[in-house]
């Protein structure tokens, strides 16, 4: 075990524990603003995890979108709506709580078991699951991503852009229609 491996594992576990902990906290917390803050930490930790794998660009995008833009949107939504009701509305203790809990636990177990099972039974799958992490330098990374976005998946990129445009227009139309209905 080399030094870099230890550092890598420490960073991974740190970010993993952080993200899990604050995800749970953000669900449990009574205050929406706090839960938004915890969610922010989860998104940042995800960015850290991306960074640890070597996906620097993704980490930056993650932090830029999830770390700043989306929380601001949420903040606006909170300001517009739920400022007074923050503490009254929390978790629901209905049958669906238990259904969700046990279903998720089952999902977790099944997937875990399937991953394990797949690794154990077949050499080929096992190779697929446990490859060596390749060292990627930043130039290669950016050239690969640029190539992916602008060359290999050019059509998909344009499609995504168009989709964002449609969504923006749609949202404004929805809002205006609603306002007209009001009148």
């Amino acid at each position: 075990m080399t030094e870099t491996e230890i550092i890598k594992s420490i960073t991974f576990y740190g970010f993993a524990i952080f993200s899990l902990l604050f995800a749970i906290l953000s669900i449990i917390s009574n205050n929406v603003v706090y839960s938004l803050l915890y969610a922010l930490i989860v998104f940042f930790s995800a960015g850290g995890i991306f960074f640890s794998v070597g996906a620097d660009y993704n980490a930056v995008v993650q932090i830029a979108i999830y770390g700043t833009a989306i929380p601001i949107l949420f903040l606006f939504a909170i300001m517009f709506t739920s400022f007074k009701e923050n503490k009254t509305v929390n978790l629901a203790l209905s049958p669906r709580f238990f259904i969700a809990f046990f279903s998720s636990a089952f999902l977790f177990m099944v997937l875990w078991y399937s991953a394990k099972f797949a690794i154990n039974i077949n050499e080929n799958i096992s190779k697929f699951f446990i490859p060596k992490l390749s060292q990627i330098n930043s130039f290669e990374l950016f050239s690969a991503i640029s190539k992916g976005i602008y060359v290999n998946y050019q059509l998909a990129f344009i499609l995504f852009a168009f989709m964002i445009f449609v969504v923006a227009v749609g949202i404004s139309v929805l809002n205006i229609a609603k306002e007209k209905n009001r009148d």
């Binding site: 075990m1 890598k8 594992s9 995800a23 749970i24 953000s26 669900i27 929406v32 839960s35 969610a39 989860v42 998104f43 995800a46 995890i49 991306f50 794998v53 996906a55 993704n58 995008v61 999830y66 833009a69 989306i70 949107l73 949420f74 939504a77 517009f80 739920s82 009701e85 009254t88 509305v89 929390n90 978790l91 629901a92 669906r96 709580f97 809990f101 999902l107 977790f108 875990w112 991953a115 394990k116 690794i119 697929f128 699951f129 446990i130 490859p131 992490l133 990374l141 690969a144 992916g148 976005i149 290999n152 998946y153 998909a156 995504f160 964002i164 923006a168 929805l174 809002n175 609603k178």
Partner: protein, 108 residues
């Protein structure tokens, strides 16, 4: 190799993303505040993103398609969140409440 917890492999990332995904699912179902439901959906998207990145890093070190799709997926998440928020806002105008248990027009 799996038992060696300090040797970080793809498996660890998968477990991490699975756990975050499950937390997101449970949160979507049990939480009453609509804004928190949207946050939980974002958790689920993040978990999927982690999956993409991990597979991209471990299995596809040349083309890095996983990274590219993670970027697309981030965009999708942002768009989805925008739509979710505007729908929530319109609903809120009707009922003046952020409690999802009050939106029960389809009951029985």
């Amino acid at each position: 190799m799996i038992n060696n917890i300090f040797n970080i492999s793809l498996y660890h990332y998968l477990i991490l993303s699975l756990t975050i995904f499950c937390i997101g699912v449970v949160g979507v179902i049990i939480v009453k505040n609509i804004i928190k439901i949207l946050i939980c959906i974002e958790f689920m998207l993040t978990a999927v993103n982690i999956n993409f990145i991990a597979f991209g890093a471990y299995n596809d070190s040349i083309a890095l398609n996983g990274f590219v799709f993670a970027i697309f997926y981030t965009a999708i998440g942002a768009v989805e969140l925008a739509i979710g928020l505007i729908i929530f806002y319109l609903m809120y105008k009707e009922k003046k409440s952020i409690d999802i248990d009050k939106y029960k027009e389809l009951k029985n």
